[in-house]
């Protein structure tokens, strides 16, 4: 079946539901981050950052259509704001930037390739976008170059592992539960096997 760009009703619903569920999980992750930060110090944010990209990667890998990565990430951010995230309204911008980073990578493959390296690249894409954003927001220009490089590398690695790899594992586990039948991912995997 050709990949038309229009989302079906089922896909819209799945994106909404994933956004809601991960919005809740992201809030829990804020707590993990803050505790780790207190123990480990400043660069922790870059280490844990990748998990906040995961919904865009999971949703996009399941539905495989334009816009999914961006919308799911923004939706998750909106849910967090409604639930009272300490980061406040600016989180919406954060979500937009991160989602756009992942989306850009998928767009570069023209929504055709969904292998693990592509998903990890999407995690890196989100990391790069969010790094640029935090550079502007937190005035990274004043930091030492060595620290900056460390932060950048850590964040990209986190995006690739906590975002891309973990997302891939979750998608695989979900695939085994059978709930993805009839979605783009099943068509692609099954036809690849035949």
């Amino acid at each position: 079946m050709p990949n038309t760009a229009v989302w079906t009703l089922r896909e819209t619903l799945i994106v909404a539901v994933l956004g809601a569920v991960f919005g809740v999980l992201y809030l829990g992750w804020v707590q993990v981050w803050l505790i780790l930060q207190a123990i480990l110090g400043a660069v922790t944010m870059d280490v844990v950052m990748g998990f906040w990209f995961i919904v865009s990667i999971i949703a996009a890998a399941i539905i495989r259509k334009p816009g999914v990565a961006l919308v799911s990430e923004v939706l998750a951010a909106a849910v967090q704001i409604l639930l009272g995230s300490p980061a406040g309204l600016l989180l919406l911008v954060t979500g937009l930037v991160q989602g756009a980073g992942a989306e850009a990578v998928f767009a570069a493959t023209r929504y055709r390739r969904w292998s693990l390296p592509v998903l990890m690249a999407a995690g890196v894409g989100a990391a790069v976008a969010s790094f640029a954003y935090t550079w502007v927001r937190f005035d990274y220009g004043s930091l030492a170059p060595g620290l900056l490089i460390l932060m950048f590398v850590l964040r990209c690695a986190s995006g690739a592992l906590l975002g891309g790899l973990l997302g891939h594992l979750i998608v695989k586990a979900l695939y085994r539960t059978g709930v993805l039948s009839g979605l783009a991912i099943e068509r692609d995997l099954r036809t690849a096997h035949v």
Partner: protein, 242 residues
């Protein structure tokens, strides 16, 4: 009383207030916001005290991170300091961690005030009627909103089935291993429910782009605008005084 108001003006006021809470980095403002929301819920809406306290737990949990860094480790998390610098109206007498903690609670309570006094169905309907939200997106949101409270019930069923398989009694609180074990089935449940709802909606005639009507739309009333106006005026006054 608050539940009789139209959801849109109420949402506007709550969003404005949350926005102010983010911008005004002042402990007194956050505490006042928290007290006000709490007071409205407890005094006017008659929500049980234990329920309110239970509601504050998750908000307190995120805020807690700021508090622990600020109090236990006796230093500020970089994020908190940064947030403090970013804001225009800062009173430096309080530790930023404490302000952020109070802000998490305050924003959380305002959100809770809105959520507890608003029927999600009415909200989505109002969005569809007045802000031209497409019906498929509206019902997708409504489905997501109904899902969040149902996740708890589903977790309970998953845990019972798992306990039976393992031949162990169900524990009061799930441990980390159990949490991991139910997380994927829970996600699968959410997706399955979305898929089923999509078929159900289609079978009952939901067509994107076609005109549809609403059984109950709440009309705007004078009280809604009075409430919004008074709320904004009060907020302005408070900010002036601080």
């Amino acid at each position: 009383m608050l539940s009789q108001l139209h959801p849109l003006p109420k949402m506007a006021l709550c969003l404005i207030w949350i926005g102010a809470s983010v911008l005004v980095f002042d402990l007194r403002f956050q505490v006042m916001t928290l007290t006000l929301a709490f007071g409205l819920l407890w005094g006017v809406e008659r929500v049980a005290l234990w329920k309110l306290l239970a509601l504050m737990v998750p908000f307190a949990l995120f805020g807690f991170g700021f508090l622990t860094t600020s109090v236990l480790f006796n230093k500020e998390s970089g994020f908190a300091l940064q947030m403090a610098q970013e804001q225009a109206m800062t009173s430096p007498d309080f530790s930023p961690g404490l302000v952020l903690f109070a802000r998490a609670l305050a924003c959380g309570m305002v959100s809770a005030l809105f959520a507890l006094t608003t029927d999600p169905g009415q909200l989505v309907r109002a969005l569809m009627v007045h802000l031209r939200l497409p019906a498929s997106v509206g019902f997708a949101l409504m489905q997501a909103m109904h899902l969040v409270p149902d996740l708890g019930r589903e977790v309970q069923v998953l845990r019972m089935a798992r306990a039976m398989r393992l031949g162990k009694p169900v524990r009061r609180m799930p441990g980390p291993r159990e949490g991991m074990a139910v997380s994927i089935p829970l996600l699968a449940f959410a997706i399955r429910r979305a898929s089923r709802a999509a078929v159900a909606m289609e079978a009952r005639g939901l067509r994107p782009g076609q005109p549809r009507s609403q059984m109950q739309t709440q009309p705007f009333q004078k009280a809604d605008w009075v409430f919004l106006g008074l709320g904004v005026a009060f907020l302005g006054l408070v900010i002036r005084v601080l």
